[in-house]
């Protein structure tokens, strides 16, 4: 039992911090928000090709670095801190996690090396509603229906979608530019991550990815890990809300004093710190479980805990950041609003806090 980070882990975290402080500052985030696809291609290229983040959690056999959830969690924490706009989340945290957890050997060999090399973007649905049907068509499959809440789908993405087939639910890979695929993306209040509805009209693909033997354990494991990575991002974002606030109140003067000298303000910041550090313990602990021999039922509870807590803490901290910035806090010019919108949107991703706690209660009671 060891709860400390290894030197490699610390190096990965620090490198991510340095890169993002440079390439994902407030200006870069706002530029990315204004693009059609929601990210700047050169930042994505650097992440994939230069930094090798996409390879971190891919097995060495598929061209990856063979590290695990702790490393990815650390990167995600930094991504959240800097509100990184990038298909990294969908490609690596959702897509590669799915393939790792429940993919066939063939699908892993076909897709993971390109993911690890930063050459392939995966777009994955985050909805728990299944409105896709898959029918056998010779060697291929024909898909019809809607893929809902598909994350970061762009023209050259590979879509990874669950669909109902005659023999049960399967996972299918479809190039987004296949005939019959229509992406409709809508920019939400949170413009830092894009979601699309994908219409599939007799779309033919050869690639069914799920390994039936892995589905029962792998499905829940992939969901648990995806929740963990969102939680890590929320943790980073919450920390940023506190840091922005502390920096602001240390400068802003009213009544002839910096407002950070008012005890009520100090206590509110301390309360944020309590929640954030508690959350950090929770997220790191869940990641440590994911890196250990915890059975999937335990991992489920741990990651549900982390994501529920992270959603609540980030929402609280983003709200406090606006409030303690005073008038400028609710303007678009300052950054707290960006985190507030992310806080709101991410609250529902893969389960609201209430839904996640009900999952936990279902096991306890």
């Amino acid at each position: 039992m060891d709860f400390s980070l290894t030197d490699d882990q610390i190096m990965i975290r620090d490198a991510a911090q340095d890169f993002l402080a440079d390439k994902s500052d407030s200006g870069a985030v706002r530029r990315a928000m204004a693009t059609h696809d929601g990210f700047e291609p050169d930042v994505w290229a650097a992440i994939g090709a230069e930094l090798g983040w996409c390879a971190v959690a891919v097995p060495e056999a598929h061209g990856g670095m063979g590290m695990g959830p702790v490393e990815l969690m650390l990167i995600q924490e930094q991504a959240g801190y800097h509100l990184l706009c990038s298909p990294f989340f969908s490609t690596v945290c959702l897509g590669a996690t799915l393939l790792n957890s429940l993919g066939t050997d063939e699908s892993q060999s076909a897709l993971l090396p390109a993911v690890a090399g930063g050459e392939l973007k995966l777009a994955v649905s985050m909805s728990d509603k299944l409105q896709l049907k898959a029918d056998r068509l010779g060697e291929n499959w024909s898909l019809n229906g809607q893929g809902l809440q598909v994350c970061d789908a762009v023209n050259d993405s590979m879509l990874l979608l669950f669909a109902r087939a005659a023999d049960g639910v399967g996972l299918f890979a479809i190039a987004a530019n296949t005939p019959g695929v229509t992406l409709s993306s809508q920019t939400g209040w949170d413009a830092t991550r894009r979601f699309s509805t994908v219409e599939l009209d007799n779309v033919v693909t050869p690639m069914r990815c799920d390994n039936p033997g892995r589905l029962q354990q792998g499905g829940p494991r992939a969901t648990a890990l995806a929740r963990l990575y969102i939680a890590a991002e929320q943790l980073g974002a919450a920390q940023r809300c506190l840091d922005l606030t502390v920096a602001y109140i240390a400068e802003r003067k009213q009544f002839g004093r910096v407002i950070g000298s008012f005890q009520a303000i100090k206590h509110r910041c301390a309360e944020m710190m309590v929640q954030i550090e508690g959350l950090r313990s929770g997220v790191y602990g869940a990641a440590a479980q994911a890196a250990s021999d915890a059975p999937v039922e335990i991992l489920n509870m741990e990651c549900a805990m982390a994501k529920a807590l992270a959603s609540d803490v980030l929402f609280h901290c983003a709200g406090e950041a606006i409030q303690l910035h005073g008038g400028v806090g609710f303007t678009d010019e300052y950054d707290p609003g960006l985190f507030f919108k992310r806080a709101r949107a991410s609250k529902t991703w893969l389960g609201t806090p209430e839904q996640l706690r009900e999952e936990i209660a279902g096991v306890l009671l």
């Binding site: 009213q254 009544f255 004093r257 008038g327 806090g329 010019e333 609201t352």
Partner: protein
């Protein structure tokens, strides 16, 4: 202590409701429930036309004395008027600042010439006003005014400096400003209260985009802008007194109308919950009942304030009101989005849903403008509970 309405009150309520039902129709139909906080940019021209419609019916400035063109309604009838106006979905009042703030201030502190020049335009719904108090360094510390004014060679005033958080500046004709007329003074002393047209060289308006995407607040820059010699209210040095008198007037009967808008928002939440099944979620049910309860508290609290007579500002019920409603409203916004779930993520085309999204975002400003939560708590602790004052730095 009795909440039964007299037959006369009931008749008056009926009169307002009938007028609204007959006039908020046709081209005005689209204005129903529009133009509220966070939605100020909706139909500005049509809403100005609606102001004239109201004026024609005698429904502007209903609390003003008759000699200035008002109806001189009793407090109870003003409450009824505001409630029925809001219940009918009456749109956000573009003329609110003229009718509710500067008009009463001129009646109290203005000279006859000023009254004659400005009050009729307000009553007729023809002249629109905005307010220039806050400054970048004078937020919570409201008296820390840096904008300065002086008398030019032509005898008129000149004003230089910057105001901020000025709402509706884009739709307004005039602004009232407090500025420092005695250089070297600090705080509440040495201020003047000036009336200035916005359409002049030397005045620049810059909208402030909010997190909700709307931009009802503005920065207003003054660079030797002019206020006529006759357009100072009170004497030079009286500025603080006039400004504060006007803020007092702000906490008035219109709050009962505001509560009707809140009730409408709660209705929209209930409607959304019924539509998407969240009405069966016990945690949501609990919060909806809490929101309803809070709205009852707001109503009774306002009635307490209004029954308190002239010394209302001394009562604890008045001290808590702004804090209570703004935090209640912010919670309502959170409830709305929790009910909407993923439906809330994208700006909605259905205005009933978009309105809830607006409430969520705009209500973050409620606990900040016009006295932040933190300032309100200071005031309550010090004035309400007699605890020691916070020292200045």
């Amino acid at each position: 202590m009795n909440l039964n309405e007299s037959p006369e009150d009931k008749a008056f309520r009926e009169e307002v409701a009938t007028w609204m039902a007959e006039h908020l129709v046709g081209e005005y139909e689209v204005l129903k429930h529009r133009g509220g906080p966070g939605d100020e940019e909706a139909y500005p021209e049509l809403r100005k036309q609606w102001e004239k419609e109201l004026a024609a019916g005698g429904w502007t400035c209903v609390g003003w004395p008759k000699e200035y063109g008002g109806r001189e309604l009793s407090i109870e009838h003003q409450v009824i008027y505001h409630e029925e106006y809001a219940r009918a979905g009456g749109p956000g009042r573009v003329g609110h600042i003229g009718e509710g703030l500067i008009g009463p201030a001129l009646i109290a502190f203005g000279n006859d010439a000023q009254k004659a020049e400005f009050l009729p335009g307000i009553v007729k719904g023809e002249t629109y006003w905005c307010q220039g108090y806050s400054e970048p360094s004078a937020g919570s510390d409201l008296a820390n005014i840096q904008t300065k004014c002086w008398v030019g060679d032509d005898g008129d005033w000149r004003v230089s400096g910057q105001k901020v958080w000025t709402s509706l500046a884009m739709d307004s004709d005039w602004i009232f400003v407090i500025a420092r007329c005695e250089q070297g003074t600090k705080g509440r002393h040495g201020l003047a209260f000036l009336l200035m047209p916005l359409d002049q060289p030397g005045v620049t308006i810059k909208p402030i985009h909010q997190i909700s995407g709307s931009a009802e607040f503005n920065e207003v820059f003054f660079d030797e802008a002019v206020a006529k010699a006759g357009h100072i209210v009170g004497e030079p040095g009286d500025g603080w007194k006039v400004a504060m008198g006007l803020l007092e007037a702000e906490r008035g009967v219109s709050t009962l109308g505001q509560q009707m808008h809140f009730a409408h928002e709660l209705d929209l939440i209930i409607k959304a919950a019924k539509a998407n099944g969240q009405d069966r979620n016990p945690l949501i049910r609990d919060r909806i009942a809490k929101a309803w309860s809070g709205l009852r508290v707001l109503r009774y609290n306002a009635l307490r304030m209004l029954s308190g007579g002239a010394d209302v500002a001394l009562g604890r019920e008045a001290l808590i009101y702004k804090y209570y409603w703004s935090n209640w409203h912010r919670d309502l916004g959170e409830l709305a989005m929790d009910v909407l779930g993923e439906q809330g993520d994208v700006p909605a085309e259905d205005f009933d849903i978009l309105r809830l999204q607006q409430v969520f975002f705009f209500s973050r400003a409620d606990t900040i403008y016009a006295g932040t939560n933190e300032i309100q708590l200071n005031i309550m602790a010090e004035r309400g509970l007699g605890l020691p004052r916070e020292p200045r730095g």
